[in-house]
Amino acid sequence: VKFLPISDSDRSEMLRAIGVSSIEDLFASIPAEVRHSPNLPPPLSEIEVRRLLGSLAARNANARESAFFLGAGIYNHYVSAIADQMLYRAEWLTSYTPYQPEVSQGTLQSIFEFQTHICLLTGLDVANASLYEGASALVEALLMASRLCRGRRRAVLSAGIHPEYRETVRTYFSSLGFTSIEVPVKADGRTDENALAAAVDDDTFAVAIQSPNFYGVVEDWQIGSRAAHQKGALSVAVVAEAVSMALLASPGERGADIACGEGQSLGVPMHLGGPVLGILACRAEHERQIPGRLVGETRDAEGRRAFCLTLSTREQHIRRERATSNICTNQGLMALASNIHCSLLGKRGLREVALQSHAKAEYLKGEIAKIPAWRIPFEGPTFNEFVVEGPEPAAPLLSRLARRGILAGVPLSRWEDSANRFLVAATEMNTREEMDRLVAALRDRAGGRGDREVPHGDTGGTGDRKVPRREPF
């Protein structure tokens, strides 16, 4: 096999040196009755691997070959060629967690830079080396708040937080004896401030609000901060569309103690939802309770600037069941991608991406609102995503549009009882022509006028060649 560099003669010599006659002798401690050869197909060559995966990929609609308006926590933003190509370098790709700083300064310095970008964007003092993704980042932020308010048992969450984030919180809380209370959003799409303040009591350790929230509406984190601080709880700001941080007031400015969420839109491809990039930042006074890996600046034996992982005594490989978190890894390569992206776009580019995304979404929202029988149900200001309500159930309509090469949005019926509503997102990647095409299709309600239906798989970017279907297993 091409990845196994031991030749037959090497093997004989090695077995002789070990003092056994066959490799099977080395497996003597595995009981015979549990031995089984796997029932798998024969090995594939590289050419066949390409064909197999190519045929699977060709049956997924993708943003490069569609008019694309999907969001709900994963966004189609610009990723520069260099941010991807740099990840191919073996020194980044094939190295491990930088536990040995003398041979890991590249990874360590990059994480230190990433931590700085996240601090600048969130307006907070300290950020960690990244977490898995947005939902588990919220869990970690809440658990951190619970440690800082020891003895309290409740978290108050806005119902405007991404439903999959809230579900993840419930999973983690179920076995820890914590509860989460959900405060509804008002008719304009914003969290009900009075209900929020009323929900916070002396047993509450955190108040969490997402902005822009799941419905795309921009919230003021200050209502969460006020509600939390009056009872000595911590204010947690949740971000699911990180590009917004370049335009909107930062969590730090609006009184949040912890910011957390999803950083995917800062240079990480959509990847069908993973790997993406969990982020977490906090105020300096809480830095010793921050979960996950952290890189700090220090000196080497000759006094040169150097970087290393720090405060690792909080972590499970040392503290075991007393660790601050069950998180073992960060998303190193995604944090690198994000560092490259933020560095390249910088002060001006991050803001321009945010402004363009917002302007395009405003244009699209305005055009959809003009279509008879269509409306924008929430009046609150939005950043680059908004809810649309049409005259018919959204899910079948969206499927029809998808078959015509328009990925128009995400139906809310997936999470809640509102059949005719769906989320539409726009970014700097969308053209006016695509948006006009979407508006025209909604006006027709994809009623078959005009566009030809293209069965997916024929649009697979490989010219006219139809990709044969293959089964891996």
Partner: protein, 500 residues
């Protein structure tokens, strides 16, 4: 930039001087007015329809830099890292094997990298089929009924596994109170059990380095939810009484959890399901070669026996009678979600490509890994102390016991290996071997590479005796010398700050 210029000058004066190694922070490379990107002109009216109070000022301190400078910065930084593609990376328990490059290529196909998790099912059939197929393959390799791909890493997989055990026991009458964990286990095991709401009871290993059946029998009561066992354990020793262990755990109504971090040593050779294991996580970034990426992303699928299937995280991927695939969210007994969407899908692509490359010959992976570890053991026995001499599987744990006589510790030996061009082994773990050097070569090393590593380790043993100072002050040839980690924790500097 003065340090950088000084280093360059030194290199010019003395050609033997190592190449410049100081790279300023990207923020220190920034220059006002520089631009590294361009976007198409805005083709809709410019507008900001958000109240001013909810807007921010410019991001003070963010960079202004060109693509050229970004390219050089990150290329130079990369050269300060050691990587598998450079040489042997024998980190025990981490399975640092070669990462096939075709896997990187296929993971970037637009149908994976530019696809969205919430696209309609009709235009996501390739993704769903991929996840379904990977699940079937892992199910075949583990001999267990079903697999969730959702957990983002091994530790999250452990948590998912123990939460499923908790849900099953709760349905049966009560969650129980305790999880048993041997003293040789990874630190993630007790942390996961704790976050799943359990007390942890540690079990002492016997003289062979494996679980003591008398200790287990005494500890295994009806308060015990599960035994979490690493197979083979962190000493690289297979629990040869695994069938008896399973019998004892099951007799009291408990579950046998397998930490599959070391699956590389028996993948394709034996099935955990046949051993009586009820639930097991795997690390796609270990056994199935997805790249470690400097610390993630990983993926930690969990395989379960039939009795735990109702409790799998939501959603599962299912196939209809007509051959189409769909996500099943309607699973009332599910433990819920552990994260958003399907999991680290990009890692599923790579793992499927990897398993397909080996196919029914995947047992060669385990055979190669075990052969290589035993060859290193043979080469270093007598030179380094071996506390447990039971048969070695994929990794071998020596210690610094002989070298401490000259004041040389495991950490020093690891640092000195860097001067010989190797990454250190895992140091000081497992905790039951004082001064541990945990060596896992993996199957993707050649004999000549292993010979060079053994020669370096033997040379370090000689140095430790004859010139220990050179070992104690190592490394000498790395981009930075020994780093002050204590100072970093005492005086925390966790970010760059703009001068104000």
């Amino acid at each position: 930039l003065s340090v950088e210029i000084e280093e360059k000058a030194a290199a010019i004066r003395d050609p033997r001087h190592p190449e410049p190694r100081h790279e300023p922070l990207v923020f220190e490379r920034s220059g006002e007015g520089k631009v590294g990107y361009s976007l198409p002109p805005l083709d809709v009216p410019e507008t900001v329809a958000i109240p001013a109070a909810l807007l921010r000022a410019e991001i003070a301190g963010e960079t202004e830099i060109t693509e050229v400078e970004v390219a050089r910065h990150f290329t130079r930084l990369s050269k300060l890292n050691f990587s598998i593609d450079q040489d042997l990376y024998p980190l025990g328990s981490c399975t640092m094997k070669h990462n096939p490059r075709v896997n990187e290529e296929v993971a970037r196909l637009p149908g994976f990298a530019a696809a969205h998790p919430l696209a309609p099912e009709e235009v996501s059939q390739g993704a769903l089929e991929l996840a379904w197929s990977l699940e079937r393959m892992l199910s075949e390799l583990t001999g267990l009924a079903r697999v969730t791909l959702q957990p983002a890493a091994g530790a999250q997989g452990e948590l998912a596994g123990i939460l499923m055990v908790r849900a099953a026991l709760t349905k049966r009458g009560g969650p129980r109170t305790t999880v048993l964990i041997p003293d040789s286990a990874h630190g993630t095991n007790p942390a996961s059990a704790h976050f799943a709401g359990y007390k942890v009871r540690e079990l002492k290993s016997n003289a062979r380095g494996t679980l003591d059946l008398h200790v287990l029998e005494e500890a295994m009561t009806e308060d015990v939810a599960a035994l979490m066992l690493t197979v083979p354990n962190t000493l690289g020793i297979f629990e040869n009484q695994i069938l008896e262990i399973a019998r004892i755990v099951h007799a009291k109504g408990g579950y046998l959890y397998c930490d599959g971090a070391n699956f590389n040593s028996f993948v394709g050779i034996a099935k955990p399901g046949a051993m009586g294991i009820d639930v097991m996580h795997m690390n796609l970034h270990k056994t199935f070669s997805t790249p470690h990426g400097g610390g993630g992303p990983g993926a930690g699928p969990v395989a379960v026996a039939g009795s735990l299937v109702p409790f799998l995280p939501r959603p599962t991927v299912e196939r209809r009678a007509d051959g189409s695939f769909f996500l099943d969210h309607d699973r009332p007994e599910s433990i819920g979600r552990l994260r958003t969407f399907l999991g680290n899908f990009g890692m599923f692509v790579r793992a499927l490509a990897y398993i397909s490359s080996y196919g029914n010959r995947i047992g060669e992976v385990a055979r190669g890994a075990v052969l290589n570890a035993n060859y290193i053991r043979a080469g270093l026995t007598g030179v380094y102390h071996l506390k447990y001499d039971a048969p070695t599987m994929h990794e071998v744990v020596f210690s610094d016991k002989k070298q401490t006589a000259w004041g040389v510790h495991a950490m020093d030996i690891g640092k000195r290996l860097m001067d010989y061009g190797f990454h250190p082994p895992t140091i000081s773990f497992p905790l039951i071997v004082y001064g541990a050097l945990m060596i896992e070569p993996t199957e993707t090393e050649s004999k000549s590479g292993l010979d060079a590593f053994v020669a370096a380790m033997r040379e370090i043993a000689r140095e430790s005796e004859e010139e220990p100072q050179i070992v104690k002050t190592a490394p000498h040839t790395t981009p930075v010398r020994r780093v002050d980690e204590v100072g970093a924790a005492r005086n925390l500097v966790l970010r760059w700050k703009p001068e104000s």
